[in-house]
């Protein structure tokens, strides 16, 4: 049976299903059992599964990540949760130098089924150190799998798939997706790690988007509709492996490409998508591909600068115009009236 759930509830549901099916699954992280339920994504799980399986931890990301690797080696299936991706930067050795490599370097003798869950911050003054979108770093590392679901359905399905995978998976959520609602079946199901999702079919231009930017891309596609442009939107929910075939097939159909990423451009996933399209579909491309990414500066905290910093649907529309060789239209970049750009939704009140 399916029902409407928020993305946060879908995550919670995914945890409950995975934990019920497999007693080896364990959640760990600062504040995982907190009264606010880790942005609502863990509410009630400690009550349901006990303090041994849903546990808080010391403020020690590096060591605790190593601990979950060892726990995985000895038969558990841990998920370590970080309220911000930025905190996981303290744990790059265990994630990238250890977990990603153990199966390979020990010739298959060890297995590390572990999920590194990280949330991308944004808005309400999250600023330079609570909003870094470094998913591209993880996608750069062989041995890891990396996913960034956009819909509640995918959030639950990919979470369960990640927990059930025998390899280390980096599972990344955008804070501005948590309140989004969508159909989510009850019970167990998985979404395979890797394949992209066709978020919207179209014929004139391909927009490959990551995480929250899928929403902006869909909005852009609507605006483009009214300009007579049919945009195809690909939700690149799998970063590693990346669905090269889906990108190639779409670009071969449309001949035009815009990549919208919620992160910096230089040596990021947006560059990768352009490289993939160029390598696989060069002859189909009718115009120069374009990127819509963060400006190349740290995230500013204050609302006036943050509004300027984050790319919106209008930036995507403008980029599509460029791929069509249309003249730029300054109104593309107009700040949307009545929307507070540092809030994920109108109901939100600060602080985070």
């Amino acid at each position: 049976m399916s029902r409407e759930l928020t993305y946060a509830d879908a995550i919670r549901d995914g945890f409950a299903v995975a934990m019920e099916r497999d007693p080896r699954v364990l959640l760990m992280g600062l504040g995982v059992p907190d009264p606010k339920g880790f942005f609502g994504t863990t509410v009630g799980l400690q009550q349901q599964f006990g303090t041994e399986r849903v546990m808080d931890m010391p403020c020690a990301e590096n060591g605790m990540t190593g601990v979950v690797l060892g726990a995985a080696l000895n038969g558990l299936r841990p998920v370590i949760n970080h309220q911000r991706l930025d905190f996981a930067l303290l744990a790059m050795d265990p994630v990238c130098t250890q977990a990603a490599k153990w199966n390979y370097m020990f010739g298959g003798a060890t297995k590390m089924p572990v999920v590194f869950r990280m949330i991308l911050g944004r808005g309400w003054g999250q600023g330079p150190q609570h909003s870094q979108c470094l998913h591209s770093w993880f996608a750069h590392i062989p041995g890891l799998k990396v996913v960034m679901p956009t819909t509640p359905y995918d959030a639950k399905g990919l979470l369960i798939a990640s927990i059930e995978d025998d390899n280390p998976v980096v599972f990344i959520e955008h804070r501005w997706l948590h309140h989004i609602k969508g159909e989510v079946p009850e019970g167990h199901y998985t979404v395979p790690i890797g394949p992209a999702r066709l978020a919207r079919a179209g014929t004139d231009v391909t927009i490959v988007a990551f995480s929250y930017m899928v929403l902006e891309a869909l909005e852009a596609a609507q605006r483009l509709d009214s300009l007579g442009v049919s945009a195809e939107v690909i939700d690149a929910r799998g970063l590693r492996p990346l669905d090269r075939e889906a990108i190639a097939a779409s670009v071969q159909k449309t001949g035009r490409l815009v990549v919208a990423d919620t992160g910096w451009g230089t040596a990021g996933m947006s560059a990768e998508v352009i490289a993939v399209a160029s390598e696989t579909s060069f002859r189909s491309l009718k115009s120069a591909p374009r990127r819509v990414c963060f400006p190349e500066c740290p995230t500013p905290t204050g609302p006036s600068l943050a509004a300027e910093f984050y790319p919106r649907s209008g930036h995507i529309v403008a980029a599509v115009r460029e791929t069509l060789d249309w003249a730029p239209e300054p109104s593309d970049w107009l700040m949307p009236a009545g929307i507070e750009l540092d809030k994920p939704n109108p109901a939100f009140t600060g602080p985070f």
Binding site: G31, K36, M55, G125, P295, P300, L305
Partner: protein, 336 residues
């Protein structure tokens, strides 16, 4: 800004009044932030120190203006006690061009280099080695200066605290680590993070560092211990670690109270409210017949004026223009 450095002749009474003034000022400013926060115009997380003011007041009163300090996410009180500019801080909370970070930092990134407050960042533990590096440079350059690293007790769980403590102990650096142990990290009590069978200050002692634990709600005691610690560090004998036991009254992040949500008990909160440093300092002075009520009233009035003025100025100030987004990514010009 009130000059907190006590003259060498100042009596305990004078000292108590100064500490009280410092605490009152911090409390009033934090409360003003809390009151105005719901207007949703300070669009950044805020971590208030209400209940913990004795630590900042006592510690900074024992420092020279030229000494330096760094802090983490909960830094308003440290910034203010060290002499940071109030107007620049409030403007920063409002994200304005006149803020201490020109609107780029917000509450979690205060800085006032002139006041010796060299920076605060919200990644738990990250300023601890940086502060240690300040002291290291001072030592190499033979400067007569002490650095204070303010930290919460959760920061002692981060490995980088230990790496810093080891280095400071190795090179006998002039630094004082001031740890405000308020029993919680967000909603997580100490017992899910640190073993009950040892105290926080004992971990620091393991590094061969002079370590002390003290009631962090007693500003006079904090001041005297800090005075002695700073002298020790300044004289080149090595680093000091101080654990100040205290309690945060309000929610971890934001302006409200949150005892009802269940991570701590109302009784625990009430017990700590009884130990309010502002009230007890007043009481102590009053009991000794030494309380200068008029002076403190005047002080309150003065601070009230400062506050009104700072908030008004902040709200009048312009937001940084979008066109300045890319400014300051790099420092202009290189050496030499």
């Amino acid at each position: 800004m009130i000059d907190l450095a006590p003259s060498s002749t100042s009596s305990e009474t004078e000292l108590s009044h100064r500490l009280l003034e410092s605490m009152v000022r911090i409390r009033m400013i934090e409360e003003a932030i809390a009151e105005r926060y719901s207007a949703q115009q300070m669009r950044c997380p805020v971590h208030l120190s209400i209940g913990q003011e004795a630590a900042s007041a006592g510690v900074c009163a024992a420092l020279r203006h030229t000494d330096q300090a760094m802090s983490g996410h909960r830094s308003h009180a440290h910034y203010l006690a060290k002499g940071g500019n109030l107007r620049a801080m409030i403007a920063e909370l409002y994200g304005r061009e006149t803020g201490c970070c020109k609107g780029r930092g917000g509450s979690m990134h205060l800085v006032d280099v002139d006041a010796g407050f060299v920076g605060a960042v919200p990644i738990v533990g990250s300023t601890i080695p940086i502060a240690t590096g300040l002291a290291f440079a001072d030592r190499l350059l033979r400067r007569d200066r002490v650095t204070v690293a303010f930290l919460g007790e959760a920061a002692t769980e981060e490995g980088v605290f230990h790496e810093s403590a080891n280095f400071a102990s190795l090179h006998q650096l002039p630094i004082v680590y001031v740890c405000e142990n308020n029993l919680y990290s967000v909603y997580s009590p100490l017992e899910v993070r640190q073993p009950a069978h040892r105290e926080v200050f004992e971990v620091a002692a393991g590094h061969g560092i002079r370590s002390r634990q003290i009631d962090g709600n007693d500003p006079l005691a904090v001041y005297h211990l800090m005075k002695e610690s700073v002298a020790y560090a300044r004289s080149g004998e090595g680093p000091v670690f101080l654990e100040l036991k205290t309690y945060r009254w309000r929610e971890h992040c934001g302006p409200g109270f949150d005892n009802h949500i269940g991570y701590r008990t109302e009784a625990e909160y009430q017990a700590w409210r009884e130990r309010d440093a502002v009230a007890s300092t007043e009481r102590r002075l009053r009991d000794a017949g030494a309380y200068d009520e008029e002076r403190i009233d005047r002080h309150r009035e003065h601070v009230e004026g400062e506050i009104i003025e700072a908030f008004a100025a902040a709200q009048r100030a312009p937001f940084p223009a979008g066109s300045t987004l890319m400014n300051h990514v790099y420092s202009e010009g290189s050496h030499p």
